[in-house]
């Protein structure tokens, strides 16, 4: 089920909120678990069993790791949990990729499995992994209540597109969270703003990208519109989802960590990755990079560690070579920045550093969104007029006019400018009062406008559902 859908907004959510706040405290996790399983069942009737399997596996492994703490068996069960989770992810997500490449290398003709990717498997697998690893490390208490653990894994606000919530983040909330009007109100604000980002900006820019792909009237301008449009689209799509997840979490008393922090204002690629999909970056740092030795090893091993982390980051996003290249692309520039580029960037005027980041990020997303490496090269070539492309075309100019204002809104919205303006107004007593008065009106209007778009619109899934 999509958050940005009529069934979610006007059937599922009101019903769950009503039941959740009516049942006593001890029953709330069970309500959330049942609601979350239904939420998943709605989109993936059969694969809900897979997710329940993941919950059972991590629950049992957690208990066993805890039971044999300090003994070799504890490590055995840790590895068993890691292998189980990765095998599940590998089988459903990567089988066909490996078979295709094996066929290509060996000349064999092994049949592909053609499995549908279970929605959100990359997210909940990483969550279950973090739980068992943290229990093994002693960073988290073992969860003896299956309902509580399954609620953590299946919790519908973050189930299918993150953020990747660590068990330690919600450990306390699972047993002793509180609810208040302030939290509820803040949750609604955050949820509706995320909904607006998704429906009013991300979906529009997604439409621009679709139009570009279908067009036979290509030009250099159109390629740039596409590249900029897609970069903003993926940001508003994914950060909008994260806002909604964080907001919904608040409604039910949970505190999820932030997942984005204005990544497009970064002055280096390493800063960009401290601001973009923060829950994934920190997951790889804590569960892959540091266990491999991080940067406290020889230069050769450090390069190996960087290579592994960014190869895996790319591969996590999708079972295709362009995702691997996308990850390594970032790895390459991160290494350059560590060696010498970082120092140079610090000496550059800020706007040049911004241009450097924005350009590389845009190129990376062109690679990311290509259906093959061939198309990636062709799209990058298009940005520079390869093949004698005209500079402008009639359709590109039309779409520039049609999407121009949305692009401007998106560019401003991707920076802290709106937040700074609101903060400035709030710093004055009168301004604060006026904003307080306007906020409910604005949010009600936003909900109605988003509803109007959903009523008129077509099915538009979130981009990150495919990961």
């Amino acid at each position: 089920m999509l958050f940005s859908s009529i069934p979610f907004l006007y059937y599922f959510l009101p019903l769950i909120l009503a039941i959740y706040f009516l049942v006593p405290k001890r029953g709330k996790n069970l309500v959330l678990l049942i609601a979350s399983l239904f939420f998943y069942f709605y989109g993936e009737p059969v694969y809900v069993l897979l997710m329940i399997g993941a919950c059972v596996s991590s629950y049992i492994h957690g208990l066993l790791i805890h039971r044999f703490r300090g003994k070799p068996l504890s490590k055995v069960f840790l590895w068993s949990s890691i292998i189980t989770s990765l095998a599940m992810l590998g089988f459903f997500k990567y089988s066909d990729f490996f078979l295709e490449n094996l066929n290509a290398i060996s000349g064999l003709d092994l049949p592909l499995l053609g499995l549908a990717l279970p929605i959100g498997i990359s997210f909940y697998t990483f969550q279950t992994l973090s739980y068992t690893v943290d229990v093994y490390r002693g960073d988290a208490q073992v969860q003896k209540n299956f309902i509580s653990l399954a609620t953590y894994v299946a919790l519908f606000p973050q189930l299918i597109a993150g953020p990747i919530v660590r068990y330690t983040t919600v450990e306390e909330d699972l047993s002793g969270r509180t609810h208040s009007v302030e939290k509820f109100s803040a949750g609604i604000s955050r949820f509706l703003i995320g909904l607006g980002k998704k429906v009013l900006i991300a979906n529009q820019l997604g439409e621009l990208c679709d139009i570009f792909r279908r067009s036979s009237d290509q030009s250099v301008l159109f390629f740039w519109l596409y590249a900029i449009g897609f970069s903003l689209h993926i940001y508003f799509d994914f950060s909008g989802y994260s806002d909604m997840a964080i907001g919904l979490g608040k409604l039910f008393g949970f505190r999820f960590l932030e997942n984005f922090n204005y990544p497009f204002i970064s002055k280096s690629i390493s800063e960009f990755w401290r601001r973009w999909h923060m829950s994934l970056g920190s997951w790889f740092r804590d569960y892959v990079y540091i266990p491999l030795g991080g940067n406290r090893v020889s230069k050769g091993k450090w390069l190996r560690n960087i290579l592994i982390v960014w190869l895996l980051t790319g591969f996590w996003h999708g079972a295709a070579w362009n995702f691997i290249i996308w990850g390594l692309f970032f790895g390459f520039f991160l290494v350059l920045e560590k060696f010498f580029l970082g120092a140079w960037l610090k000496k550059l005027p800020a706007f040049l550093s911004h241009i450097y980041v924005l350009f590389l990020v845009m190129i990376s997303f062109v690679i990311f969104n290509a259906s093959s490496m061939g198309q990636a090269f062709s799209d990058i070539g298009g940005l520079f007029g390869s093949g004698g492309l005209p500079m402008v075309s009639r359709e590109a100019l039309y779409q520039l006019r049609s999407f121009g204002w949305i692009l401007v809104l998106a560019l401003i919205g991707a920076t802290p400018i709106p937040k700074l303006i609101v903060g400035k107004i709030k710093s004055h007593t009168t301004g604060h009062k006026i904003l307080n008065l306007l906020e409910p009106v604005f949010l009600a209007g936003l909900l109605l406008v988003v509803t109007a778009y959903l009523v008129d619109g077509s099915f538009n899934p979130f981009l990150y559902f495919r990961f």
Partner: protein, 366 residues
Amino acid sequence: MTDKIKHIAVMLTFLVLTGVISFFCLTQESTAVSDSERRPLAQMPEYSSDKLLSGNFFPAFESYTVDQFPLRDSFRNLKAFIHTNLLGRNDNNGYYEADGYLGKLDYPLNESSLSHVIDRMQFIRNKYFKDGNHKVFYSVIPDKNYFLADKRPVMDYEKLIQTMEANLNDMTYIDIFDTLTIEDYYKTDTHWRQEQLSDVVQTLGNAMGIGDQLSKNYTVKELYPFYGVYSGQSALPTKPESLYYLTNSVLENCTVYNTETGKTGSVYDLDRFESQDPYEIFLSGSQAILTIQNPANTSGKRLILFRDSFGSSLAPLLAEAYSEVVLVDIRYVSSAFLDRFIEFTGQEDVLFLYSTLVLNSSSTLK
């Protein structure tokens, strides 16, 4: 307003708004058809465990919730307003307004669709009109985008005509592009205005050798209010306009026989003005095979007109020159079986008359 009151206001606003809308979602009775969008609306899917487990139930349920949403038309209007006015989009789902006219983007030229039309026309020509003394003509009606093209992407009309001419060299092309302007079309509809077609009719008539037999004396009749098909589909704000039709004593005496239903009626079916598509007053709209019989013309001349809905308003204006005009819409009858329903004499004039809208989306032509 203090922060505390604001939090309460935000919470209550959200709960009341979603609660009220949810209540109407659950209690409102389903509507079968959307008059504004002119399409059937999704209904609550029937439940079965197979449907549920195969993942087919909930997508159908989702369509139902969207189609049956309370005040659906008002929400669509709100969206169109925000889309075009606040977010600055040039069109709403491809529909746009220019100089008071509503249009729908239709580009690029769909070459495979055009090939399909050419294939069907060649097939009909070779199967029914190869032998005998036929004169076979074709003409193309530009859609409104042709006239509203300024700054908008449009199909390559020149290439469309060139492709047809290159492939249909045993038929005579009649160019009517220059006889039309945007004023000859309805503001809220796809179609042209019958009372504005004198130049088109004369150009066609001259090329077909019947120019001197066509009447210029008609009485213009007006029907109001007319909301064309784009009016509801675009959800953009529109004003009603008048629908006009031409009549005279010859047309009043003509009868129209519907081969499919076996019924005989008149050229104008004014009851249809109250239907979902008021343009269907012309020959009762889209029908597989119709025959206009003109008792005032005893020459025995016959015209076979292969047409889309644009032809419905044009055909009566050609009727005076013929004893019979047979209108064939191969969207509703297969071109392979026409001789089962129409007796060809070997002497007919033949005119293929299609709008660029159909040429660019011809998969329904059989």
